[in-house]
């Protein structure tokens, strides 16, 4: 078997050294009735590369790949072009098969890239510090709420209706166990974000206000007023960014004085991958750094005075504080963080700004084209690369029908909010640098057909 290097002779020699006459002797502690008399049944036996490839390719073919057809889905995961060099770098064995950098002398490769990653995220978000990544945006969002509770010692979090419904669902699930109180509602089909409503909800019991930017319907809201009100009540403002490319074109939440900024880094370096693995981004103000969950990489020197990097502030983490840890998180999303930082390095500020404007302007052009269709109106006054169309029919069946015709038309609000009848005519459409004019025409024609 190609991954098992021991030969029968090797095994004999080793058993002799051990002083056992068979492998079974080494499993002596396993009680009799749990010992099996052969390989586990109902599973196939081993297979060579060709057979495995054939099997996997068959499964792969039975999916509609985004790049093969007009594609407009977003809602928390975006299709961007991952440059060839980025995908190449993450496949270098020294990165791919490395472990968590607990022995820093032989892990400076990983550690330096994490330090660069942290710096890039902090600057993109406009905050003082960022960690070495979390599992994804939704768990980062929840961890931020928990962090706000620790800092303010209050248990009520106000969630904007523009927060991704999966993120809300995750927070609600966790809050059931931690007894945090969450205030949240489904969004309404209005051009403005729910900033005005949220202002009314902030009081002295509030630990934090959680705002998505741009929000689930693609709307871009100024959070300055919210930040001010939150601070006046000694509450924190948590901004959630599910599309970091947007920050190449719009103000950072840190610039508006957000206290904690979290997000999903998938857009950069990490493909769609059917939902995972992704990479959670987490940043905050300097004064809260010891309350931040997750791994942190810091700069130091070695015994010869050379600059080097190490994991630091570990005493917050589970393997030391155990019950009193800031979180139970163990891994970060290492390789995805590397992909993010490598892509960001390749872009640089110049490339990121260009990429952002390309996304935005293509989205504007697409919105204008789609809105010219009878029965289609555009909800948003402002948007980055994602906007909400309101059709004069339920969008969910349309999306399914178009998918059968090999057009992936976007995410219907009926899919995200099945309980909210008022949202059933909404369709979230994302446009990126990978969307062509032909794709937009194809979608337009298809929608015209459906709405005629």
């Amino acid at each position: 078997m190609r991954y098992l290097p021991l030969t029968p002779n090797d095994r004999q020699d080793m058993l002799a050294t051990i002083g056992a006459s068979s492998i079974d002797e080494l499993f002596v502690d396993v009680q009799e009735d749990a010992r099996l008399d052969g390989p586990i049944r109902d599973l196939p036996m081993h297979a060579g590369e060709m057979a495995v490839e054939a099997h996997m390719k068959k499964l792969a073919k039975n999916n509609s790949a985004a790049g093969d057809m007009p594609f407009f889905l977003g809602a928390g995961a975006y299709r961007h072009h991952v440059p060839a060099s980025v995908d190449h770098i993450i496949q270098r064995g020294e990165f791919l098969t490395a472990y968590t950098p607990y022995q820093p002398e032989i892990a400076q490769g990983t550690l330096q890239t994490l330090f660069e990653f942290q710096t890039q995220v902090a600057r993109l978000f406009g905050v003082d510090v960022a960690n070495a990544s979390m599992y994804d945006g939704s768990t980062a969002c929840w961890e931020a709420i928990v962090m706000a509770r620790r800092i303010t010692k209050r248990g009520k979090a106000v969630l904007s209706s523009g927060l991704h419904p999966h993120y809300v669902s995750v927070a609600k699930t966790m809050a059931r166990f931690t007894k945090d109180q969450l205030v949240s509602e489904a969004p309404t089909l209005e051009a403005a974000t729910d900033g005005a409503d949220l202002l009314d909800q902030i009081d002295d019991d509030t630990s934090c206000v959680v705002v998505q930017y741009p929000d689930i319907l693609g709307r871009i809201g100024d959070m300055s007023a919210l930040v001010e009100k939150a601070h006046s009540h000694k509450a924190l403002l948590i901004a959630v960014v599910t599309e970091p490319v947007a920050l190449g074109a719009i103000k950072s939440p840190g610039q508006m004085d957000a206290d904690i900024v979290v997000g999903e880094g998938q857009s950069l370096g990490v493909g769609l991958q059917f939902g995972g693995p992704y990479v959670g981004l987490f940043g905050c103000k300097q004064k809260y750094v010891r309350q931040m969950p997750g791994r942190l990489c810091g700069e130091t020197v070695d015994s010869e005075g050379k600059r080097g990097f190490v994991l630091t502030l570990s005493t917050r983490e589970q393997h030391i504080r155990r019950e009193k840890a800031t979180s139970n998180i163990c891994t970060n999303s290492g390789l995805c963080a590397l992909a993010f930082t490598a892509h960001m390095t390749l872009l640089g500020e110049k490339g990121l700004r260009e990429l952002a404007m390309l996304n935005h302007k293509k989205a504007v052009a697409a919105a204008d084209r789609l809105v010219s269709i009878q029965g289609v109106s555009l909800l948003n006054e402002s948007f980055f690369n994602e906007f909400t169309l309101v059709l004069d029919k339920d969008t969910r069946p349309i999306v399914r029908k178009l998918a059968d015709q090999k057009i992936l038309a976007g995410v219907s609000l009926g899919r995200l909010y099945p309980e909210e009848g008022a949202l059933a005519h909404g369709l979230i459409v994302a446009v990126t640098e990978t969307t062509s004019d032909e794709d937009v025409e194809a979608l337009a024609t298809a929608l015209e057909g459906e709405l005629a």
């Binding site: 080793m14 499993f27 586990i40 020294e94 892990a107 490769g109 710096t119 059917f274 204008d368």
Partner: protein
């Protein structure tokens, strides 16, 4: 003769005096292939980029007046510079591809490249999680197939695929337990955890709102069954047991532990980090557990990637299956795959404790793990655990004369061998041995874990090491251990040959520098 004397010398002049290498300096500070690489903030610039993008359409922006008006200050590099930057950095990393990686409880086995190739098939990598399910039947089918493998290998009836890592899986298991007990109207407050457990166990239990109490170990390093039985009662929700345990030993009383906990009305969580010792050979379901997380990045070869991403699916017993989180894949009788989310959960999975993460889970790790399982098959996986256990016992018996092995007398170990620093002299510690091992060309073994052994060293060679590789490793360990036993001072300043010497972690914690700061003069000049 026609004597031709052109050409350069072909070997070094024997009479040349060569000074001691350590005194030599180079202009760049580099040492041949070992190149020091600056930060991108020191070499890149915000106006340089390594991508070419098409022109944007000529339309007006509609950013709601929130256009970015401040610099981002992230430098860029051209493609060649970027590739060189990361290639140079990668060469300062140890990795499985570089050598044996003996980290106990991490299972650093070879990461097959077929996994990478399959994960990149566009039918898996280029699909969006919210596409209509009819357009992703292959992907849902893959998740279902992997789920079937996991259930069959563990002998458990149900599995939750969505947790993003081992610790996340632990949380999933404990929340399911909590939900099950609350549904029974019997919410309990205490979870029992062995002293030797990994820190994530008590952290997870505390996060879920439980009070954590220790279960003592007996002299053989196993759970003290009598002490456990004495503590069980109506306030104990359950136990979190690692089996094989963190000392590398199988718990022979596992079934008895499960029975005792069940009799007292509690539930059993099993930490599956050490599944590599028994995969394909023993089914945890036969030992009475109720939930177990599986680390796909340990047992099933998905890459560690320098710290992640992981994947931590959790298998469940019948008692806990109804409470499993959303979403999950289900197969209809017609062979069609559906995704059960919040929407349809009400109908037939109403007791689910809810959603733990956006979207469905670590698809990229599922493709890799399934590729691995198909490659090995049931027979191969059985051989995996046998070779893993064989290799670890070989290491144990080959080193127990030179390194103190606290449980070596009580029988064989499983897939990892545990040593302590008890024989070291001159104030030398496990840390010193580890740093000495670095100089020998190896990543150290797991250190100072489990906490129950002084200066613990946990060695897990895994099954993907040849006998020759293990013999070489044993030779290196023996050498460094002998030096530690003899009190060799030089170990205190090891490593001597790594890209960096020992780093000042005190400074890093006292004065944390977590992001790049512009040097003062540069910032002032910019004003």
């Amino acid at each position: 003769m026609n004597m031709l004397t052109e050409g350069r010398p072909t070997k070094q002049d024997e009479n040349l005096a060569v000074p001691d290498q350590s005194a030599l300096k180079t202009h760049t500070g580099n040492r041949a292939l070992m190149v020091d690489e600056p930060l991108i903030f020191e070499t890149g610039s915000p106006d340089r980029s390594g991508v070419d993008l098409p022109e944007a359409p000529f339309v007006e922006s509609r950013l709601g007046g929130l256009d970015r008006d401040e610099p981002i200050s992230i430098p860029g590099l051209s493609e060649a510079e970027m590739v060189r930057h990361y290639t140079r950095l990668s060469r300062q990393n140890y990795a499985i591809d570089v050598g044996l990686f003996p980290l106990g409880s991490c299972t650093m086995k070879h990461n097959p490249r077929l996994n990478e190739k399959m994960a990149r098939l566009k039918g898996f990598s280029d699909i969006h999680p919210l596409q209509p399910v009819d357009s992703v039947q292959g992907a849902l089918g893959l998740i279902d197939e992997l789920a079937t493998w996991l259930k069959t290998l563990t002998g458990m009836p149900a599995v939750a695929m969505s947790p993003k890592a081992g610790a996340h899986g632990e949380l999933c298991g404990i929340l399911a337990i909590r939900s099950a007990l609350e549904a029974r109207g019997d919410a309990r407050e205490v979870i029992l955890v062995p002293e030797s457990a990994h820190g994530t166990n008590p952290a997870t239990a505390a996060f879920a709102g439980y009070k954590v109490e220790d279960i003592p170990a007996n002299a053989d390093g196993r759970v003290d069954l009598d002490a456990l039985k004495a503590r069980l009662g109506p306030d104990v929700a359950g136990v979190m047991i690692t089996n094989p345990n963190t000392c590398g030993l199988f718990e022979p009383d596992m079934k008895a532990i499960s029975d005792a906990v069940h009799n007292a009305g509690g539930l059993v969580y099993c930490d599956g980090a050490n599944f590599n010792a028994i995969v394909g050979r023993v089914r945890p379901g036969d030992l009475g557990i109720d939930a177990m997380h599986i680390n796909l990045h340990k047992t099933f070869s998905t890459p560690h990637g320098g710290g992640g991403p992981g994947s931590g699916p959790v298998v469940f017993s019948d008692a806990l299956a109804p409470f499993a989180p959303l979403p999950f894949v289900e197969k209809t009788e017609a062979g069609h795959f559906n995704l059960v989310e919040e929407e349809t959960a009400e109908d037939h999975h109403g007791d689910s404790f809810g959603r733990m993460v956006a979207f469905h889970g670590q698809m990229g790790m599922f493709t890799r793990a399934l590729t691995y399982m198909l490659s090995h098959g049931a027979d191969g996986l059985k051989q995996v655990s046998e070779d893993a256990v064989l290799n670890a016992n070989y290491v144990l018996r080959s080193l127990e004369d030179v390194l103190d092995a606290p449980f070596s007398k009580s029988g064989p170990c499983m897939h990892e061998a545990l040593f302590s620093d008890n024989r070291f002299t001159n104030g030398l510690t496990t840390l010193d041995l580890a740093k000495g091992l670095i100089d020998e060309g190896y990543h150290p073994m797991t250190m100072y874990f489990p906490l129950v052994v002084h200066g613990a060293m946990l060695v897990e060679p895994t099954e993907t090491e040849s006998k020759a590789a293990i013999d070489q490793f044993i030779g290196a360990m023996r050498s460094v251990a002998e030096r530690a036993n003899a009190g060799d001072e030089m170990l205190k300043s090891a490593p001597h040959f790594a890209p960096r010497r020992r780093l000042d972690e005190t400074l890093a914690a006292r004065k944390p520098i977590l992001v790049w700061q512009e040097p003062e003069e540069y910032a002032e000049a910019a004003e």
